[in-house]
């Protein structure tokens, strides 16, 4: 129990899931132009969109590659789940910025925007006359972020990077995996997602600076360097010892005990590093002599000691149920939890109460239930409004509402192929097969 009822009551009130749409959005009024594809760039913009930014996403005629990257080549109502995951609350425009007339439209939008993000090959925006040099001339408050594997300059600038390459070039894969086996890639596109997150951090930092000074800026962000930054003690260890950090499975080489253990009915993650925590664990195990032998956390970290301690815990959990070990953790003050799967998370009352998983009714796709980006903010909570969209779905809204072009002019731009919509021959560009032609359309 969190200590004290007043605290619990305040938490319930501050984070009431039913009140989200009664509250402000942190990035309300911030317009972001997204010239991005695949996962990293779109994710960075998605994080901003769920906290209130108006993100306008530009796609070329073939569409974002994620319209075609999806598990088992599975599509749902014509939609690619691979596209859905990094594209919420956005406005969708079909327009290729390499087209000179499209470029003019884009520049008109830049005048009315706050942030421009691209994850194209470094220099591509400059070739189109859309580098920060040009953009800042027409809007000195603009913040422009470019992200790529190796950045905009340096010996490796221009090298292609994929998520799996960034994981390996940054050293993450070399330290992930079991001791006696090979390196293992993350189960997700971790190097894309976390780099996108740090891009969003730098954009909001730049917005804070602009709020105080009125100054915009250019940001050059490197994906592989970001992976390097996330590897905690790896680098200082190599520097001090001349050795590579070894793979150690689920065992934590810097915290003992901290590992994954097998119970009679599943897996439990367990950690107890502080003295009182380890004492609590040994009490739960009814092995007080183990605590007496290794009270000191630093001493427990010696390889030989760590192996002995972990072995004792392995023997102990073998005949326990996961739920029992979790309850003992809560009773005795050590950390113990099951491994959650997608199904567990989907049905978790805890995550629903916390608005970590939100439900919404999408005008195109119907009922949705999925994760909304953290953290939970009491006054400006993140929220899900709508899902991804067919190619060029919001052309009308963007050009009529924001640029003031009359609808027949927008139509003309479409006829002249300056802007475009989904290709009916390509299902994953298109609305769901049963779409009525009007649902979800903001302005025709």
């Amino acid at each position: 129990m969190p200590k004290g009822k007043p605290y619990r009551d305040l938490m319930r009130k501050l984070f009431d899931a039913g009140q989200i749409f009664e509250k402000r959005e942190a990035l309300q009024g911030i317009r972001v132009l997204e010239v991005c594809y695949v996962v990293l760039g779109p994710a960075a913009c998605d994080y901003l969109a769920e906290f209130g930014a108006e993100v306008i996403k530009f796609e070329g005629q073939r569409g974002d590659q994620m319209r075609f990257v999806t598990p088992y080549a599975y599509f749902w109502k014509n939609m690619s789940p691979g596209l859905e995951i990094e594209n919420h609350n956005k406005y969708w425009v079909g327009m290729h910025l390499g087209n000179p007339r499209a470029k003019e439209l884009f520049l008109d939008l830049v005048k009315k925007s706050d942030v421009v993000v691209d994850n194209l090959t470094p220099g591509r925006m400059a070739q189109w006359g859309l580098s920060y040099k040009e953009l800042s001339q027409i809007n000195p408050r603009i913040i422009q972020l470019h992200v790529s594997g190796y950045g905009s300059w340096g010996p490796w600038t221009g090298r292609t990077s994929y998520d799996a390459v960034a994981q390996s070039m940054g050293g993450l894969s070399s330290i992930t995996g079991f001791e006696e086996r090979g390196p293992i890639k993350s189960g997700v596109w971790i190097a894309d997602w976390v780099t996108g997150l740090m891009c969003a951090v730098s954009i909001v930092a730049a917005l804070n600076h602009r709020a105080k000074t009125g100054e915009g800026q250019f940001i050059d962000y490197m994906q592989v360097e970001n992976v390097i930054r996330f590897l905690d003690w790896t680098w200082l260890y190599s520097f001090k010892t001349g050795e590579n950090r070894k793979r150690s499975g689920n065992r934590d080489l810097a915290i003992c005990p901290s590992d994954l253990f097998q119970c009679s009915d599943g897996w439990v993650a367990l950690a107890a590093f502080g003295e009182p925590e380890f004492k609590g664990l040994c009490t739960a195990m009814r092995q007080p002599e183990l605590y007496r032998k290794y009270p000191n956390p630093t001493q427990r970290l010696k390889d030989e000691n760590a192996r002995k301690i972990l072995d004792r815990i392995t023997q102990w959990t073998r005949n326990k149920r996961v739920r029992e070990v979790e309850a003992l953790g809560s009773k005795h003050g050590f950390a113990a939890s099951r491994v959650l799967s997608a199904k567990d998370a989907y049905h978790s009352r805890h995550l629903r109460e916390r608005s970590t998983i939100q439900e919404y009714d999408d005008p195109l796709y119907g009922s949705m239930a999925q994760q909304c980006y953290p953290p939970r903010l009491s006054e400006t909570p993140g929220r899900l409004k709508w899902s991804c969209r067919p190619l060029g779905f919001d052309n009308g809204y963007v050009f009529t509402k924001i640029l003031g072009l009359p609808p027949d002019e927008v139509k003309k731009l479409e006829e002249e192929k300056v802007i475009f919509r989904w290709n009916p021959q390509i299902p994953s560009h298109c609305p769901p097969p049963e779409w009525d032609g009007v649902s979800g359309v903001k302005l025709p």
Binding site: P122, V201, A342, R376
Partner: protein, 450 residues
């Protein structure tokens, strides 16, 4: 710097030169900082989520005051094999950057008073205690925000501050392994479930090698804090941030939640395979491991031509077959029969040679898996100042990663110092913020408050 090292493999050399001029590492110290004059108290304990969050803020200019108990933060002891440099482990030294270090005993009345007074002067407070602990001491969000409504209070804990599990497990401390276990990604990371050749003992969830739960949690916390600071510039109001690191991982778990919603199905652990793009995998080679991809039909054809395996192309002709999880172990093992005969450099050469052929069918990408020592030696990272080597007056010779925000042209992130010993800044901070020095400070020290 040598022009060839600036333009590298750039498609547009002028752009590379321009970008270099805008973001030269040597100029960083002369430029302003995004969070100048922002005061952050990091009272986190035993948590690198809290420490990484405050590192991010410190790199971009916040004045971060690290408040530790008099004996030091438990996190100082978290170090591989127990390696210590004086009072700290390697992991802590890495995240002590640009922070002032004070001590403060919150279990003592006097300590709580000091804490409360410091919080009045801060813009942001970060804590990682068990949910409700600070509230029970009278210095939680409920009490502090009454006096100081502009305060941004960021509480980080595995189970969060509210919700069913937070109420059930509030007595558990937060740890990276639990953050990873509850973050869903761990359930689908590890050796492939469906590979019949894999020994059963390895068919289990696997964490990321690094503290991915803590670091991702810390990055989300910093994101939330910056959002709240931005909101405060417009409204003057502070708020409470409830950051649960496992949710930080769940939020980026690819499409497993969406796929479950749409199909009612879960996805098995894929190992180095990927159910949405394959081959796009790590394979063994003669001298280690290398990445190799050939996913779309033309690229798969190219890979099969390089391996001289037309039979494989015929057996798995479309992406439907290649994305079938039952087929992926077979494809992986067949590719490895080829790659294990060559070194990673020989494979790269073969792929590059193939790429020059006029009748090539598609593009194959390959690249050696780098280990930390190789990475430390790469010229690109040296030129970009990815690592900072320094001689710390207390900790001696150190090497730590630089701020990744150093590419912000107007307000670049930077490293000023690596770490400080326990209580090193008591005198400066207490004098500067609370006017406490000399005799009074010695009294507090004697009473065990600081």
């Amino acid at each position: 710097m040598d022009d060839k090292n600036i333009v590298g493999m750039a498609k547009d050399k002028e752009y590379a030169r321009w970008a270099y001029a805008e973001t030269r590492p040597e100029d960083a110290v002369k430029k302003p900082e995004a969070l100048a004059h922002t005061v952050v108290i990091d009272a986190s304990y035993g948590s690198f989520a809290g420490l990484f969050a405050s590192s991010i803020l410190a790199e971009i200019g916040a004045e971060v005051i690290r408040a530790e108990p008099p004996g030091g933060d438990l996190a100082r002891k978290m170090s591989p094999y127990g390696m210590m440099i004086k009072d700290s482990g390697l992991a802590y030294i890495n995240e002590g950057r640009n922070k002032f270090h004070i001590t403060l005993d919150l279990t003592k009345t006097e300590g709580r008073k000091l804490f409360s007074k410091l919080a009045d002067k801060a813009d942001v407070l970060i804590e990682t205690f068990k949910p409700g602990y600070l509230d029970s001491l009278g210095i939680g969000y409920r009490q502090l925000s009454k006096k100081h409504p502009g305060l941004i209070f960021c509480a980080i804990h595995s189970y969060g501050q509210h919700g069913e599990d937070a109420e059930k497990h509030a007595n558990q401390p937060g740890y990276d392994i639990v953050d990873q276990a509850r973050g869903v990604i761990m359930s689908i990371t590890g050796e492939p479930d469906l590979d019949p050749e894999l020994p059963g003992e390895y068919k289990r969830p696997l964490k990321h090698g690094s503290w991915m739960g803590w670091y991702v949690g810390g990055a989300w916390a910093a994101f939330g804090i910056l959002l709240a600071l931005f909101d405060r510039t417009r409204t003057g109001k502070g708020q409470l941030i409830d950051c649960s690191p496992p949710e930080g991982l769940l939020a980026i778990s690819n499409y497993v939640m969406q796929y479950f919603h749409m199909s009612g199905q879960e996805m098995p652990r894929a190992g180095n395979y990927d159910y949405a793009v394959f081959p796009y995998t790590y394979v063994a080679c003669k001298d280690g491991y290398t990445f190799i991809s050939g996913f779309t039909d033309p690229n798969w054809t190219a890979l099969c031509e390089i391996m001289n395996r037309p039979d494989l192309r015929a057996q798995f002709p479309t992406i439907k077959e290649r994305l079938n999880p039952q087929n992926q172990p077979t494809i992986q093992h067949e590719i490895e029969k080829f790659t294990t005969q060559y070194t990673s450099d020989e494979l790269l050469e073969m792929v590059q040679e193939y790429g020059k052929k006029p009748d090539k069918k598609g593009t194959v990408v390959t690249g050696r898996l780098e280990n930390p020592r190789e990475i430390l030696g790469r010229e690109h990272w040296q030129e970009r100042k990815t690592f900072v080597r320094c001689n710390d007056p207390y900790y001696g010779e150190l090497l730590v990663p630089n701020s990744t925000f150093k590419g912000m042209s107007r307000t670049p992130g930077r490293m000023k110092w690596a770490c400080r010993r326990i209580g090193a800044d008591n005198e400066f901070i207490y004098q500067n913020y609370l006017g406490i020095g000399g005799r009074r400070l010695r009294q507090l020290k004697k009473a065990g408050v600081i």
